[in-house]
């Protein structure tokens, strides 16, 4: 967890508030150049403790050549250059021309790199470029403000809106298909995730949405005032908002859009002034608790539970789960809590996104992990392959 890095006390005391601008530590690299707008250069730390490349790994590591350097002193690379890009085109062209060893795929270049069945295009394969796909352990969602007198008190209305939300087309349009629709709050890979779960309010179904809207007291949306949607001012935000307006419009629900700068948006949400908004949560650590705490009533706004969901039964289970070790009992509690928020629908569950990363054939030992932040010491560039 990057939130709990160990820092040298004497350095913190010496630099005070300036500590953040001084890299002091015992890691494998030393900071040689720091320009957060352009380039960050690390050089091998000659006084790094003796640490060897692991000789054991996961079953497929041997086959993938990840254990070739077993037993060698770390770090393997002498220097690490991190290029910072504001615009995606130069990053992408630099990667294609071999000047970058690793790169993500810009949204606008996705189809030129990845086929419709989510594989690397043959022309890139022929250059030796390799693709790594990994879940980001996150969830995107539309939040309903449960403290809002209209939305908070009408479960059928929230369920109807959830059913009108076509996540599959949303994923195709905005994530290039690189995501899986979320059925509940827990992402795949975590204890409590149920791959068989089908959220009854997340299967895009306009007819059923209209039924629930009528049950909510607003047949065909009649009598329902326009809902207020809070959006961040950006081109992507505008596109997503327009798409949402179209989806809700299909069942007769109008959406008024209020556009804010990022600080204004957060202030609006944290002060319970927004009605609906889109958000995402990326796991801080690999435990479902990190996602379920977003529904714990004591974390309500301005805390992390910004949809202000409050369910005493959920709270009770949440508190109980905190004391339990990993195991069947805790998993059952996680699933029970997930089913509660699925039924109460304080969110429209969006997607769990995938990270698509490309790396060059000469970069060795590249094995990304969402929570491993010290992998650079294993990387090695094969100079013969790079020529």
């Amino acid at each position: 967890m990057p939130y709990t890095s160990i820092v040298p006390r004497e350095a913190v005391e010496h630099y005070g508030r300036e500590f953040i601008n001084h890299a002091v530590g015992t890691g494998p690299f030393k900071l040689a150049e720091y320009n957060p707008n352009s380039k960050i250069i690390f050089k091998k730390n000659p006084t790094f403790r003796k640490e060897l490349y692991p000789s054991e790994g996961e079953p497929e590591d041997q086959q993938q050549g990840l254990l070739v350097d077993a037993g060698k002193s770390l770090p393997l690379a002498d220097q690490l250059n991190i290029e910072v890009y504001v615009e995606m085109q130069p990053m992408w062209l630099n990667f294609l021309s071999g000047k970058l060893d690793v790169s993500s795929i810009p949204k606008d270049n996705f189809s030129s790199a990845i086929t419709s069945d989510r594989k690397l295009r043959p022309e890139l394969v022929s250059q030796g470029i390799q693709l790594v796909k990994a879940p980001m352990l996150d969830i995107t969602h539309a939040s309903f403000n449960m403290a809002d007198p209209l939305l908070g008190k009408n479960k059928y209305l929230r369920q109807a809106l959830s059913l009108a939300y076509d996540e599959n087309s949303f994923i195709d349009l905005f994530y290039n298909g690189a995501a899986v629709p979320a059925q509940g709050p827990i992402p795949p890979g975590l204890d409590g995730y149920n791959s068989q779960l089908k959220n009854p309010y997340r299967q895009f179904n306009i007819a059923r949405a209209k039924e629930l809207l009528a049950k909510a007291g607003y047949p065909e949306g009649k009598g329902l005032p326009p809902l207020e949607y809070a959006s961040v001012a950006s081109s992507l935000g505008r596109q997503q908002t327009e798409y949402l307006q179209k989806m809700f419009g299909a069942i007769g629900v109008k959406l008024n859009v209020n556009t804010y700068s990022w600080p204004q948006f957060l202030e609006t949400v944290k002060n319970k002034r927004a009605q609906i908004w889109e958000y995402a949560w990326a796991g801080d650590y690999p435990d479902a608790e990190n996602f379920l705490q977003l529904f714990y009533s004591k974390n309500a706004s301005p805390g992390q539970n910004d949809s202000n969901y409050s369910n005493p039964e959920f709270d009770q289970l949440y508190v109980k789960s905190l004391d339990l070790p990993a195991g069947a009992e805790r998993t059952a509690l996680y699933q029970k809590m997930a089913s509660m928020v699925i039924e109460d629908a304080p969110w429209i569950f969006g997607a769990h996104r995938m990270r698509f990363t490309l790396f060059q054939k000469w970069l060795k030992n590249y094995k990304p992990h969402e929570f491993a932040h010290g992998n650079f010491k294993y990387y090695r560039v094969d100079p013969n392959l790079k020529q």
């Binding site: 320009n35 957060p36 707008n37 352009s38 890009y85 085109q89 021309s97 990022w262 944290k270």
Partner: protein, 311 residues
């Protein structure tokens, strides 16, 4: 002259005060509470209250305004929300890269555009004049982004004539990274500048004193370079001098696309990150530089036009 400069400098005080007031209202009253942004979604009420106190956001607005005025006067704008670096240092660090790009670009553009402007004004109405005007309009019609995308894809990526992007802190290695953005700057600016200078020169060509000079039998080059050019210098200087202080701000798009860590790139980053202290500092800096640019232009008028006197 000295009295005039002092008076103008005193006049800048209320102007800069007005600018700071507008900037303060825009960022502090309309821009939203930055503590929410700094803490993000993890924030809780206690953390928000603590941070508000730490940054002085819980102080009355007039005290916050005076703190901001103090920042302007002492050139200490606090820290960036995004990078946590002192903003004044970020500005000082960014000036070098921006000037590395902007000084040669500006000089080249000015020399070329004044020369071409003079040439086409001299040959006004002939094919060379018409062709130049057509190219100027074409050059102006294309946005800078089109030049950048074309240049990076074809000139750099496909044909390998320049690096795609990048920056080096050392000379002469830095030059290779600056060439393409420099040419793009010149290409984009040339159209407007040539037309402007051409018009300024042609206005003088139609003055009575030129007719008199011709009637006296002066040669055309002598009329042009000795009399017309000197009298055209007032609008030309206005256009040039007012831009000089703003050169340190760099070029937003060029720095951003070519990875040049100048003030333009810092500003674009700040906008992306809603890093209001940096945007606020840059806005104030632009306003102050503009005011001083204006003053410098007025002073230089006296050097090129004896009819102008500063009282």
């Amino acid at each position: 002259m000295i009295a005039y400069i002092i008076r103008r400098l005193l006049n800048t005080i209320p102007i800069i005060f007005g600018v700071t007031l507008i900037v303060f209202i825009l960022f502090n009253l309309v821009g939203g509470d930055p503590t929410y942004q700094m803490l993000g979604r993890h924030a809780n009420a206690q953390q928000i209250a603590e941070l508000r106190h730490e940054y002085g956001f819980d102080q009355p607005k007039y005290i916050q305004f005076f703190s901001y005025l103090k920042q302007v006067l002492t050139f200490d704008y606090g820290r960036s929300y995004a990078t946590k670096q002192p903003i004044s240092q970020m500005i000082l660090d960014g000036m070098g890269p921006s000037l590395s790009l902007m000084i040669p670009s500006f000089l080249l553009t000015t020399i070329l555009s004044v020369s071409i402007g003079l040439m086409v004004a001299y040959f006004r109405g002939r094919w060379i004049d018409r062709l130049t005007v057509i190219f100027c309009v074409l050059g102006m019609s294309l946005p800078m982004l089109a030049y950048i995308l074309f240049g990076q894809y074809f000139l750099a990526f496909k044909w390998g004539m320049f690096p795609i992007s990048g920056y080096d802190t050392q000379w002469p290695d830095r030059m290779q990274y600056l060439l393409m953005p420099m040419f793009i700057f010149v290409a984009v600016s040339l159209g407007y500048d040539v037309r402007f200078y051409r018009t300024a020169i042609l206005e003088e060509v139609n003055q009575d004193y030129v007719r008199t000079a011709r009637a006296k039998g002066l040669s055309e080059p002598r009329i042009f370079f000795k009399h017309v050019l000197k009298n055209s210098m007032v609008p030309i200087l206005t256009n040039i001098v007012i831009e000089i202080p703003l050169l340190i701000l760099g070029a937003f798009l060029l720095e951003s696309f070519f990875g040049i860590p100048g003030l333009g790139s810092i500003t674009i980053d700040a906008v992306h990150n809603s890093d209001f202290p940096v945007i606020k500092a840059m806005t104030t800096l632009v306003a102050i530089l503009y005011v001083f640019g204006n003053l410098a232009t007025d002073i230089l008028y006296t050097l090129v036009d004896p009819r102008v006197s500063l009282k």
